[in-house]
């Protein structure tokens, strides 16, 4: 099994969710994060004191899938999260050794 971590723009969350469910994947975990990268931040000024905000709000989606679903999942994310502007985000794929569903104790692919 693989864990797909996708860092995407905030307002793309719903689109990506739809795209993912369309390809038949029905579980994910989402975290609010701040990303630092090529995308230029913005300036905030409070009583003349300037702050460069270079951590941009993003969401991280974590989706664990069986190896068979990996490619179509990645493709769905890339398609739905892209705007073409700098800052669209990244996808990181890592290996998962084991999955357990807490409710039933089911393991691995059955637990997804």
């Amino acid at each position: 099994m693989k864990k797909v971590e996708a860092i995407v723009r905030h307002f793309k969350l719903e689109d990506v969710k739809s795209a993912i469910t369309e390809v038949g994947i029905h579980g994910m975990t989402v975290t609010e994060v701040r990303g630092f990268g090529r995308q230029k931040g913005h300036k905030e000024t409070y009583r003349g004191a300037e702050y460069i905000v270079d951590f941009m709000p993003k969401v991280k989606m974590e989706i664990v899938v069986g190896d068979a679903d990996l490619d179509k999942l990645v493709e769905a994310i890339v398609r739905s999260a892209r705007t073409g502007q700098v800052g669209d985000g990244k996808i990181f794929i890592t290996n998962v050794d084991q999955v357990v569903r807490i409710r039933t104790g089911e393991q691995n692919d059955e637990a997804l």
């Binding site: 719903e14 913005h42 300036k43 905030e44 000024t45 409070y46 905000v53």
Partner: protein
């Protein structure tokens, strides 16, 4: 107690009454200064109780804009636009106040015309504030309070009315355009309507309109202008498919509480004296707000299955908006009916009507203020009673005065007409010259960052 104020014409807003009995009747064409001198001789003395109440009322109406409305609206937008809403409300307190002092008051209350005021008569508060004439100190007076206080109280209405409209174009309008729009709207929509209804020579006052505290001047004008704004500006990106739930309903609830408290100044203050009319307006206002809560929540509970605090708050505002024109003309019991009806009707307007036509009135300014205001002016003509207004003529439809309904109808139509026409014109001109909306990218990032360079909450 037999009402003292029997000389007040039936259906006439009290403050006009003062004018009618004081300035207008005795020396209609006298220049302001000598009129003031005349007043110094013939007018009732300044009454400390009335001054006290009107000072408080003015403060309360300011509180309605910020924190009241700022919180009410601020809680309803998405987190990325909270600053922009607060800024619109707060900055208008600065901007509109100065405009009011410069020419707004003069254009609303000056002049002899039935249709518009005078830019010059009271320009920069001439003849309104204390000054020295022939070596004598003159402190102009209106009824039992200094004219400056009357001007101030009225000025607070001039702030909140454009601030109400901000709810319609929230989350997408350019701040600079909003500022200019508000100044122009205040001058060319608010001031004329205010003149028609409350200035001594206004044609709707002449027709004996019942609009005690601003059903036409404040609520219909802002509500229908808001609708035009929503239509002309177009929808927010993502509306209505994307979820845009309120980011902080606790703010909305606090804001509504403060609006409710402030509304006592708005309505009961419109008596311009701490008298039985003020008391009636206070009680009717409170009960209409309360019944508005019940009206909305009941319908919502039945239709949506759950009673929500946003519904309760919106219902309160609907009830309070509806009683505004009527507070000094109907009994508190009628207030309960009016509030309840307003709560229920506004629910329908904010849900069914908006969905049917599909415009994006972001914070439901039309659905709440437009509808409740119209309803209120109409029902004031139904429920108005001489038990409250004084005098011996019958007042509303239920007292047999069907003619009042015609006046109320004309007033509503005239107010809608000028609001819609001028707002449309202003928006078109502003769109052509400086554009109305921020760029799509800015709208996505949020106006806080892009228009104001600030963040609402930094919680980590």
């Amino acid at each position: 107690m037999i009402r003292k104020l029997v000389f007040i014409a039936m259906g006439t807003a009290l403050w006009s009454g003062f004018g009618a009995s004081g300035i207008a009747q005795e020396s209609p064409s006298a220049p302001p200064d000598s009129a003031a001198d005349a007043l110094a001789v013939s007018a009732p003395e300044v009454n400390s109780g009335d001054v006290s109440w009107m000072l408080v009322s003015s403060a309360l109406v300011l509180m309605m804009t910020c924190p009241g409305l700022a919180l009410f609206y601020g809680g309803l937008v998405r987190k990325k636009n909270i600053i922009s809403v607060l800024m619109q409300c707060f900055f208008l307190m600065g901007l509109m106040s100065v405009i009011w002092a410069l020419w707004g008051y003069s254009f609303a209350f000056g002049g002899e015309s039935a249709f518009y005021g005078s830019f010059t008569e009271h320009f920069a508060l001439r003849g309104v504030i204390p000054h020295i004439a022939d070596g004598q100190i003159v402190t102009p007076q209106q009824g039992t309070i200094p004219t400056a206080l009357f001007m101030m109280f009225q000025g607070m209405f001039f702030i909140i009315t454009p601030a109400l409209i901000c709810g319609a174009f929230a989350e997408r309008m350019k701040f600079s355009t909003m500022c200019l729009f508000s100044v122009l709207w205040g001058t060319f929509v608010y001031c004329p309507i205010c003149h028609w209804v409350w200035a001594d020579t206004g044609w709707l006052l002449e027709k004996k309109i019942i609009d005690f505290a601003g059903g036409t001047v404040v609520h219909i004008s802002s509500g229908f202008s808001a609708l035009v704004c929503a239509l002309v500006m177009g929808k927010r990106r993502g509306f209505p498919t994307e979820a845009m739930p309120p980011h902080n309903l606790s703010y909305t609830c606090i804001g509504t509480g403060l609006l409710w408290v402030g509304w006592f100044g708005f309505n009961a203050g419109s008596a311009l004296e701490a008298n039985a009319t003020a008391v009636n307006a206070f009680v009717a206002t409170h009960l209409a707000g309360a019944a508005g809560v019940l009206g909305w929540v009941l319908v919502e509970w039945i239709r949506d299955g759950k009673p929500g605090v946003l519904g309760a708050c919106t219902g309160a505002v609907a009830g309070l908006g509806c009683i505004t024109p009527a507070a000094g003309a109907v009994t508190p019991l009628s207030g309960i009916c009016m509030g309840f009806v307003a709560g229920a009707c506004c629910y329908m307007a904010c849900t069914k009507v908006k969905n049917t036509f599909g415009y994006d009135d972001s914070l439901d300014v039309f659905g709440v203020h437009g509808i409740a205001g119209t309803l209120g002016v109409f029902l004031a003509g139904v429920f108005g009673t001489r038990a409250v207004t004084g005098g011996s003529d019958s007042v509303g439809l239920l007292e047999g005065n069907a003619g009042q309904m015609v006046t109320q109808g004309i007033s509503i139509l005239a107010t809608i007409a000028i609001s819609v026409a001028v707002t449309f014109l202003l928006l078109k001109i502003l769109d052509a010259t400086m554009t109305l909306r921020v760029s799509e990218e800015d709208e996505i990032r949020g106006l806080d960052e892009t228009e104001h360079g600030e963040e609402g909450y930094i919680f980590w």
